[in-house]
């Protein structure tokens, strides 16, 4: 646990220094392009969190084991955190490059819908605690991920202001190695931080569940 946190912080510091001081400045966009080193790792981590929510929710619906539910809840909270970061850093990148903070472009709109879906997941958990809320949230957790392929294909199938994929594309990344390396370091930093926070949060939920069980049993 401590090793994971140390690794994540070390990667974060390396990635941050590389992104801000060592990576080349993009010729057309200039310094704002450095937001990519936050924006892309945030979206990669959000997708990883959503995959965990989906798999854990499916296993919870199948097995009814609360351990899967706790994992799904912890991952959903982190998914909202990373989607929020994606949206905010995207707006901060869009303002100097596109001349607007926000536009109802297919990529941006489908990402905003994704944020609402998983905020909805957390609202359901807060308003309907217990087995019933957990089941309803699990259904949202499974269905919600269907928005991810829509987000991915939105820039390929529709005419959008958002650029087409530059990293995950069949013909390989379109970025030079000097930009790919800091991007990969930042993505690794975000993913290890996600794993650290996920482990911490799941442990907290497990302890809370045990305590509630003891207190309710004693009452």
């Amino acid at each position: 646990m401590r090793l994971l946190l140390t690794l994540s912080l070390a990667l974060m510091l390396t990635g941050l220094t590389w992104a801000l001081a060592l990576a080349p400045t993009e010729a057309i966009q200039g310094p704002p392009q450095r937001i990519m080193y936050l924006h892309v790792p945030a979206v990669i981590t959000a997708y990883a969190a959503l995959a965990v929510v989906c798999v854990a929710s499916l296993l919870f619906l199948w097995r009814r084991d609360p351990r899967w539910d706790r994992l799904a809840l912890a991952a959903a909270e982190l998914a909202v955190l990373f989607i929020t970061m994606t949206l905010v850093t995207g707006a901060l990148w869009g303002r100097p490059v596109w001349g607007t903070w926000w536009t109802w472009d297919a990529r941006l709109t489908t990402t905003l819908i994704l944020w609402f879906i998983y905020v909805g997941y957390l609202v359901v958990r807060a308003w309907a605690p217990g087995e019933r809320g957990a089941r309803a949230a699990a259904v949202i957790g499974v269905i919600g991920i269907l928005d991810v392929p829509l987000i991915h294909w939105s820039v390929i199938l529709l005419r959008t202001l958002h650029p087409q994929p530059t990293v995950f594309r069949p013909e390989g990344p379109a970025l030079p190695v000097s930009m790919l390396i800091p991007l990969a370091i930042n993505a690794a930093a975000f993913l290890t931080l996600f794993l650290t926070l996920l482990t911490l949060r799941v442990r907290q939920e497990r302890t809370l569940a045990r305590l509630v069980e003891i207190l309710e049993g004693g009452a």
Binding site: P31, I35, L38, L81, M85, L208, V212
Partner: protein, 42 residues
């Protein structure tokens, strides 16, 4: 460069906010642990 710095500051605020929620839950766990501990015999 102001946009870049703002983006990194917002990321720090978001992570910091999440860390605060973890700390609040930790306090709650400590309080519940105290409540769950059996009281000493009189």
């Amino acid at each position: 460069m102001a946009f870049v710095i703002s983006a990194y500051l917002i990321a720090i605020v978001l992570f910091g906010g999440y860390a605060l929620t973890l700390a609040a839950r930790r306090r709650l766990i400590a309080e519940l642990s105290d409540a769950a501990r059996p009281s000493p015999d009189p």
